[in-house]
Structure formats: C-alpha cells, structure tokens
C-alpha cells in the first residue's frame, strides 16, 4: 500500500489503493467488548521513513551556541578594550563575532574567518 504522503500527491492509482485499503484488524478486549467499532478510519499507521532533522535547534543546542557566542563576544570585548580594532581582528585570528539584533535572542552564527579581498586583475590564482 502506498503511503498517505504519496496519496496526497494524488495520482489515481494511489487514491484507489487508499480507498481499497483494509481497516485495522482489531481484536476484542474487555474495554471494548461493548463497543462496536463503527468509526474505524480507513488508513494504517505509517512509520516515517525519510525524516529530515529540523533546521532549528533543540534548546540544549541553542543554549550551547549562545554560551559559545557569549564567550566569543566577551573575549572580543576584552581584547578590544586593550587594543585597536585592527589588532583585535589580528589577535583573534581573523575571527569576528557578529552581535545579533538582541543579546537574549541571538542567532548564533558560527564565527567566520575574515573574508579575503576579492581577486584583482593580475593576481595569481591561489593554490
């Protein structure tokens, strides 16, 4: 039987398969002995087979990244207080922490190396 996800893609073959699919076979138990299963739904449980991890983090990951960025910002701040901006970039090995719009809700971009200058005419290709 095709999956329901495929069915919502709605080819006629899929749809007829779904329509003809059998209802759950259920045995009687004490709890349901007086209950007639008149409301069975016409599809089966389907395990998710192609699950993609969500693109937003869980809380633990979020807080870890935030703390990491906090440390980077703090480090940058300390260095900045002792030297000029150019030196800061130099002493943090080109890493520049980007403050987010608000500290409590930072988007936690990983610190990226400073970009190189765009190639100029006559530059040799880098190896």
């Amino acid at each position: 039987m095709c999956s329901i996800y495929e069915a919502t893609g709605a080819t006629s073959g899929h749809l007829s398969q779904i329509r003809n699919s059998s209802v759950h076979h259920v045995e009687k138990s004490r709890l349901t002995s007086k209950w007639q299963a008149t409301t069975m739904c016409n599809m089966d449980v389907q395990r998710v087979k192609d699950f993609t991890k969500p693109s937003y983090p869980d809380r633990k990951e979020f807080l870890r990244n935030r703390n990491l960025l906090g440390a980077v910002l703090l480090g940058t701040g300390l260095v900045t207080s002792a030297c000029n901006k150019t030196e800061t970039v130099h002493r943090t090995q080109g890493i520049v922490a980007q403050p987010a719009r608000r500290l409590s809700g930072v988007i936690l971009e990983s610190p990226q190396p400073a970009k190189e200058a765009p190639p100029q005419p006559g530059d040799k290709p880098s190896r």
């Binding site: 089966d44 449980v45 389907q46 998710v48 937003y56 983090p57 409590s104 809700g105």
Partner: protein, 374 residues
Amino acid sequence: MDVTLCLTHACNMRCDYCYAGPKFARSMSWDTARRALDFAFAHTAEQAERTQHDPESQLGFFGGEPLLEWNLLKMATEYAVAEAGRIGIRLKRTVTTNMTLLGEEEALWLRENGFHVGLSLDGCAKMHDLVRRTSDGNPSHEICARALDFFRGSDANGEVILVVDPRTVELLAESVAWLIDGNIRRISFSPNFTVAWNPVALAKWKHAYTLIGDLYVGCYRNNRPVNINVFDGKIHARVNNGYRPCDRCGFGENEITVSTTGNFYPCERLVGDDSNAALRIGHVSDGFYSAPRNQFLANRGNVVAECSVCPVRGRCVNWCGCVNYAATGFINRVSGIVCYHERLCIEAADRVGGILFEENIPAFIDTFYLGCHR
C-alpha cells in the same frame, strides 16, 4: 488531580461531529458536584503529600453546554475556590462553551474568576455554519461570534477551538485568517478522528496547514505572535526533545471527568451518554473502582509496533488514550488518521520553525527557547 464536571447533557446546538453523545435534559445535582470536588481535592492533597509537591488542581466545566447550568457553575466554582484555598491547593479553572449564552455578564464573571475559556467556534461563518447548527437547525455563527469581542488580543483568557472535519477542511485556512484578522491570538484545532478522511480531504488538509503556516510566520514577523496548537506543540516538542510528562493528560490517574450522575471517567471525551459501564473508573459515592482504573492505567500508551521504530515518535501524541479510543476502540492503539495528522503537523511545524529561527525573529526565540513552556 484535575477534575472536569459534565454539568448537563443538554445543549442548544446540534453539531454534526459532537463527541459528547446524545443530547437530553439531565443535569448534575449540587450534591454530586460538591462530592466530586471533595473527592478530587482530597485526592490532590493526598497526592501532594505523597510526592512532596505543591498541590495543584484544575477544575473544568463541560457538557452538553455547561452555561445552560450557569448557577450551578458559579456555585461549584465558589465552593471549589473556597475549599482549595482552605486546603492550600492552587486551582486553575476552565470552561468549554459553544458561546451562545456567553454575554457580557458571563464573560466578565469568568474573567474575574480567572477562567480559561475554550470557545467552540469553527472560524468564519462559511465554515462554522456548515456543521454547527442550533437545535432547531438554524445557522449559529452570528450568535456565537458575538462573544468573541470579550476575547480579543494577546492577553485574552480564551482560545478558539475549531473542529477540523473532512467537510470543512477546505475552509480551515480562511477561518484562521478570519480569526487572526479579528485579533484572536489563541487558536486550537481539534480534528475529527472518528470519521473516514478520503484522500481528497487529506490533500486539502495538508494544503490548509501550509497556508496557515504562512499566516503563522507572518504574525511572528509582525511581532504579533499567534498561538496555534498544532504548530506550537510540535515546535515545543522539538525544542524540548519530545513531549514531557507534564504535557500529557492525566487520563484517570491525575484527571477525572464526572458525569451528571456522578460516574468517573478518565477523560471528558469518554463520557458520551454516560451509559458505557466499561469506561467508568469510579463514582462519587464509592471513590475509585480499583480494578478497572488500574487496567486503564496499565494499558495507557501505544502498542502499535510500527510506532516503536518511528523517528518522530517522541513528538507524536500516539499516547492520547481518548483519541485512540475514539478512533480505534482501544486506548493504546493509535489510528492511521492520527498518525497521518501527526506527521502532517510535524512537517508543517518544522517548516515554519525553520523559517522563524533562520530569521532570528525575537518573539519566536522568546517563546520557544527563552520563555516558559505553555
């Protein structure tokens, strides 16, 4: 322990999909209500002592239409507040109503008494009037929607509950847009899992969740977040690595529903017309019936083998006993339609969650990462 009182089987509406059973004129007596509250509070105090937690309880009113028994509702609330205060129980209060009898006086009283109000309204008139008719067969949207005025804005003490049904699902996104336009900020979907959903209706459902997801994203971008249970629940479950024990209902353990005649059920969805003895777990006169209650507690969960290897099982409500029972006849077997809907919600929630996180929307970060879990 949470306790819901089914104040009456009577209702002035005849909604096609109502799971509360046939409508007839039988209401709860004051004596039954009082004994039910006494039982629930005694149990709450005992539980709190055993677990060394602060005693908490939630008092709910259900029906039929509970506002038909307005005086009983008020009397029971006043008694419950006094008793809870005396014992030291923190008491939350909820009521679910079809809104037809919810005038200014009632809304004000509910607000002053700290109620969270579940407003049964299927969004816009076109969707609502298809299935929610008065007892004499007339459309009811105009009457019901008047009460919305008391519940607009983000600090409103009410949420609108829309039943999602195959007959109305194509109007769902339009209804949500209508509610958001009307400054309703809390919206819950309650799918009808007891009917057959054909593939066309399923496709419409999926499409509706995509459109509603776009509305949800737009609200966050405009810094006017809206709570929609199918998105919020799944995003919270992602952020917290699955549902937590406190997200799950008490189902006979920490929660009972008391019928008009004093019978205890694990959930209000199982009361029906109060005739199914197999679903009862006690009575106000006798307390809990140990054997059937223990069987309910032992059978909770989900035994469908396919689910045990599903990668999203931690974010799935396959454990909801009343929904399982309604759809399969077993409290511990999830149905295909619930499975379909859970996958749909997770897919839709992850799409909007990904967008809002990527855009670093402050309200989103606050709600799901830094704020309290709702």
